[in-house]
């Protein structure tokens, strides 16, 4: 497989009868994603689309099914609770799409995650896709192409943009991972970069970051010392005014270090090719490794 998900991943959907699920699940299923069960308190015993069983609790679902991943599509005020329930159910991968989860709730989730066997993506993320195999997220289906570039990003639409630039140039992706735009979240840029480093199907990576926090710098340090695969990057927010929250709860410049320019300089110092122009993110990767090593499926 690429990383984290493939065509054999069994998925449990939290909030399966809600609006977000109604909108996104058909596209996930059309892409080949194996949705095996759903959770919605009070609707246990019913079925989604007359096919997929719904349970009141995660505990009941994991007794009946072998679940590899949870996809959380519930309103933000209940999202942390869903994550905690999935952790208790020992679900290996939890993907939380919900936007607007209070930081306080996420601090509790982080404490619980520490002693668990679960990995968390998000919240406030676009999800994850292994092109040609499975999609647990809200990205448009057609923009992806199976291939060898791993993409990790804090932003949804900017990931779509990056992926589309690659696909338009005939370059496919191994897995595209949205880690989310919140200040306290699950897997970090570094966590995902490490997975791509180990993944034989990934030959190069693109890291899309933005203002706020120090995750990109942390990943860059690792890449500099241990990375064997070429990495290109883009950092959004060069023109963002200081102290303003730029849409994402985590995208805020607080002090000199979290600004875009500081990040870009640090990344460049660690040997990462940073695209200064967001319409040329794929070009930045092509310039350092050439299209030959990036084409082809395996």
């Amino acid at each position: 497989m690429a990383i984290l998900i493939d065509c054999n991943t069994n998925v449990l959907v939290h909030g399966i009868s809600g609006r977000a699920a109604a909108f996104h699940l058909p596209y996930c299923e059309a892409y080949g994603t194996k949705v095996v069960a759903g959770v919605r308190p009070g609707k246990g015993g019913q079925h989604y689309d007359n096919r997929i069983p719904i349970y009141d609790t995660v505990r009941e679902a994991v007794v009946q099914h072998r679940i590899h991943a949870s996809l959380i599509l519930v309103p933000a005020p209940c999202a942390a609770d869903s994550i905690l329930e999935a952790i208790e159910g020992e679900i290996p991968l939890i993907i939380c799409i919900s936007e607007g989860v209070p930081t306080r709730d996420m601090l509790l989730v982080r404490e619980r995650l520490k002693n668990s066997s679960s990995l968390l993506l998000g919240p406030n993320c676009s999800g994850i896709i292994t092109p040609g195999q499975a999609k647990l997220g809200i990205m448009p289906n057609y923009i992806h192409l199976p291939g060898r570039v791993g993409v990790v990003s804090r932003s949804g639409t900017l990931t779509f943009e990056t992926v589309w630039q690659l696909t338009s140039r005939g370059i496919g992706q191994s897995t595209c991972v949205g880690i989310g735009g919140d200040p306290v979240h699950g897997l970090s840029q570094l966590d995902v970069i490490k997975m791509f480093e180990k993944d034989p199907q990934t030959s190069a990576m693109i890291m899309v970051g933005e203002i706020g926090g120090e995750e990109e710098e942390e990943a860059a340090e690792f890449i500099h010392h241990y990375g064997k695969k070429p990495v290109a990057a883009y950092i959004a927010g060069v023109t963002a005014p200081e102290g303003k929250r730029m849409g994402h709860a985590g995208a805020i410049i607080a002090g000199k270090k979290s600004g875009a320019i500081h990040k870009i300089r640090t990344l460049e110092k660690h040997g990462i090719a940073v695209a200064r122009d967001p319409s040329r993110i794929a070009e930045a990767l092509l310039e350092i490794c050439g299209s030959q090593c990036l084409r082809g499926n395996h």
Binding site: A20, F23, H24, A76, P77, E99, G100, P102, T103, R104, M106, L107, L108, R110, E111, S126, I138, P140, I143, R154, S155, G156, T157, L158, T159, F160, E161, W164, S168, G181, P183, V184, E210, I211, G212, G213, E214, E215, Y234, A236, G237, V238, T239, A240, P241, G243, R245, M246, G247, H248, A249, A251, G255, K256, A260, R276, D277, P278, S279, R280
Partner: protein
């Protein structure tokens, strides 16, 4: 969300934190009578209430001095308060025009022996809260940290249990509160401060300074708190404290519709979806010598109403000379954006050029709608073509 100092103190007082007595005075309140509620005091501190730091060093445009002043009598305090109310205070954060002062806070002034800095905030790199303290309070702590001049002590907080007494004691010792009595007062104060932080969904609580008085008390002189917008749904008291007068009018309007809008100095209105793409669009324009008039993220909403409202806000910006739509559909569909725009335009054609780049979910449908209904809209295929197209338009005029 930011709130005023007097509001933060009101919340702190209700949790038993040590504060001086004080009264808030609005523009329509009787100044003398309200100050009279404090009784006769030796010292009064008069503090302008605006959502901006650096008030003590700020200056009023009408020449009445700084945003924080001391008085020796109620009459003098009233005179200062009157001078501040309704006038503009310029600080390092307000910009040249300053911010109008609609409220002042008059507090009992006390004799201070020593000033301490104390804060609780999120350390993103470890995903935990931390308490920070310094024996050198009262100064501009941000610059102190940056230049490494002052010693800052840190304790990592393990949520939700809060700061342990041994951690608070360790911190008290580090900042010179060795005496048993003072140290235990600090431990109690820090515990309560964490409870305040936690229960009010704060993202920053800062006390600068915390005063040690000559009679062995600890008193919060200046208190500041910022609260997590995402937690407001469960914070009724805080929601009622929102002061829209302190925020940009368009930003307030946008937030009511779940939009993230920030006004910027340029002349190209931007309608974009997703925070990352919105920022990248700003950066792209800027890198090509063009300036965005705003940041706009349509947010996670998927409705036409949101788009209609967003477009109305953009149209209300008199500086804009061009509209750029850069939408990569996911949750927000291209056709929904187009329909929402048409509804907003209804009867009031947009007078400036419209450049459209759409990709992703229902982009083809969206482009088709715009082409048929707004003939002067110009479609571009890729993001890299956006700056050239806009430059061409500006060159023709």
């Amino acid at each position: 969300m930011k709130i005023h100092e007097f509001q933060t103190k009101q919340l702190m007082r209700s949790r038993g934190l040590p504060l001086c007595r004080g009264v808030a005075i609005g523009e329509n309140d009787p100044v003398e009578e309200t100050i009279g509620q404090l009784g006769s005091l030796n010292f009064y501190a008069v503090k302008a209430q605006i959502h901006s730091g650096g008030r003590g060093k700020g200056v009023f445009t009408n020449g009445v001095g700084s945003g924080v002043q001391l008085a020796r009598s109620a009459t003098a305090a009233a005179k200062i308060a009157r001078g501040m109310l309704g006038n503009y205070l310029v600080t390092r954060q307000t910009g040249e025009g300053g911010q109008i002062v609609r409220r002042v806070y008059v507090e009992e002034g006390i004799a201070v022996k020593r000033e301490i800095y104390l804060a609780i905030l999120l350390d993103r790199s470890i995903g935990k809260l931390v308490a920070m303290a310094s024996a050198d309070g009262g100064v501009d702590i941000e610059s102190a940290v940056e230049f490494g001049g002052k010693k800052i002590f840190r304790e990592v907080i393990h949520s939700p249990s809060g700061i342990y007494p041994y951690q608070a004691r360790r911190m008290a010792m580090a900042i010179g509160l060795q005496e048993d009595d003072l140290r235990e007062k600090f431990v109690d104060l820090l515990g309560k401060l964490f409870t305040f932080y936690w229960e009010s969904d704060a993202s920053l609580v800062e006390i600068n300074p915390l005063a040690q008085t000559s009679d062995g008390q600890l008193v919060i002189l200046d208190g500041k708190s910022i609260h997590d917008d995402n937690g407001l749904f469960r914070q009724g008291t805080l929601r009622a404290m929102r002061d829209c007068d302190e925020e940009d009018e368009r930003e307030v309007r946008a937030s009511k519709y779940g939009l993230n809008y920030i006004a910027l100095p340029g002349n190209i209105a931007c309608l974009t979806n997703g925070a990352g793409l919105a920022m990248a669009t700003m950066d792209l324009l800027h890198a090509n010598g063009l300036e965005p008039a705003n940041f706009l993220d349509l947010g996670d909403s998927t409705g036409e109403d949101t788009v209609t409202e967003a477009f109305k806000i953009l149209c209300g910006d008199i500086r804009s000379r061009c509209l750029l739509i850069n939408v990569f559909g996911g949750a927000m569909r291209g056709d929904v954006v187009a329909k929402g725009m048409l509804r907003a335009i209804d009867g009031n054609p947009y007078p400036f050029p419209i450049v459209v780049r759409m990709e992703g979910a229902y982009a083809a449908e969206g482009l088709e709608i715009l082409k048929n209904s707004i003939p002067h809209s110009i479609a571009v295929k890729n993001m890299e073509n956006i700056p050239r197209k806009i430059k061409n338009i500006f060159a023709k005029k």
